[in-house]
Symmetry: C2
Subunit: 190 residues, 2 copies
DNA sequence: GAAAAAAAATAAACTAGTTTAAGAAAAATA
DNA sequence: TATTTTTCTTAAACTAGTTTATTTTTTTTC
């Protein structure tokens, strides 16, 4: 039987106390554990009733494809983070794909909603996500791509090393060519 | 005594049933009603423990001033909408100012948190805000200013009429000069 | 470990959006 | 209603970032 201990420990963490056997059983029942190879599509634009994903291991990205076929990374999520379209159950415009081989737990919106009535701290994940997105939004709106790249390097040096450059440029909202230019300029300085 | 009926009707709406007298009393106790003249600053960057605001009448904007002193509008909120920094109680980087004469109810984070344990639907305001911001983020990231302006016109024609043009340009993340150019181009087409 | 495929770098011509400045129009105030 | 202040427009020179194309480097696969 699959090992759910990472998931239990997350709930114990947000719950701030050990789980009862019944709570464990419920969690085991409402989440499904899956393993995906690198570059596997986990969620697809156009789907409704999409799932929420909690990551045990690996790295995933959520992205959108615009009217010109260009991809924009909305979010990266790694170990012990959530990823999913909070707009569910409405039809999602986003894709989610693994960047590395990954192990994730998935849960339906219905069950997720039930859980966050019980674990109010879970509602905090949404709030934290909002604050994070708002900060990023302001950065994209008000700063140059070069400044945004510096911010990434400072805040998430470990994450950058796990991503190909063109995925980073897509997260910054610039072309790979332009990011390459920024890096060349940076390299000269040192 | 101040009239809180608009606020009560909001809670009845999210609660999906009439409020008890006790609930009304609690709401009356935790919210404070205020009237502000146009262009009054309601929240200031640098403050901690900022409040959440529910608007009965008028129009407010939340904005940030970047390192070059330039303003960027993050959010407009009007009748029957919330505005505030969800990052509270941390020190806020944002300002909130009235765009029109306004009547607002304010509530502390502590009381707000208590309420959203009771009215789970209130947590939904945060979630909806997230979905809204994500959509806007994608637009700013992937579309031209002209396309973003068209989107605004389609989605919020009434709101635009209540805002000076330079406030709209700041919301779109472009200079007033550039928005004026877009409008001139648009006017020619018709 | 050679071959193929994917990712990154470089260059040149281009475009969306900025900056500065000056004048025109609209709104607020005396 | 005249005056002052605020907002909007227009224009010209500029810059951040794009596009397309070619080459080099790195990674994957057989």
């Amino acid at each position: 039987m699959a090992d759910y201990s990472i998931l239990y420990s997350y709930f114990e963490h947000i719950n701030k106390q050990p789980l009862t056997p019944e709570e464990m059983a419920e969690i085991h029942r409402v989440f499904r554990k899956n393993t995906y190879k690198k570059k596997t599509m986990v969620m697809k634009a156009g789907e409704a009733n999409t799932l929420h994903y909690y990551i045990e291991k690996g790295l995933l990205r959520m992205y959108i494809i615009d009217q010109n076929g260009k991809e924009f990374n909305i979010l990266f999520a790694r170990e012990r983070q959530w990823i999913g379209d909070l707009g569910t159950p409405a039809e999602t415009p986003y894709f989610i794909e693994t960047v590395e081989d990954s192990i994730v737990y998935s849960i339906s919106e219905e069950n997720f909603h039930t859980l966050y009535k019980r674990y109010i701290a879970l509602a905090n994940y949404i709030r934290k996500s909002y604050v994070f997105l708002q900060k990023r939004f302001v950065s994209i709106l008000s700063k140059t791509a070069e400044e945004n790249y510096e911010e990434l390097v400072n805040d998430y040096p470990g994450l950058l090393q796990r991503l190909p450059q063109y995925q980073i440029s897509s997260y910054l909202g610039v072309t790979p060519v332009f990011l390459s230019k920024i890096l060349a300029k940076r390299a000269k300085k040192d």
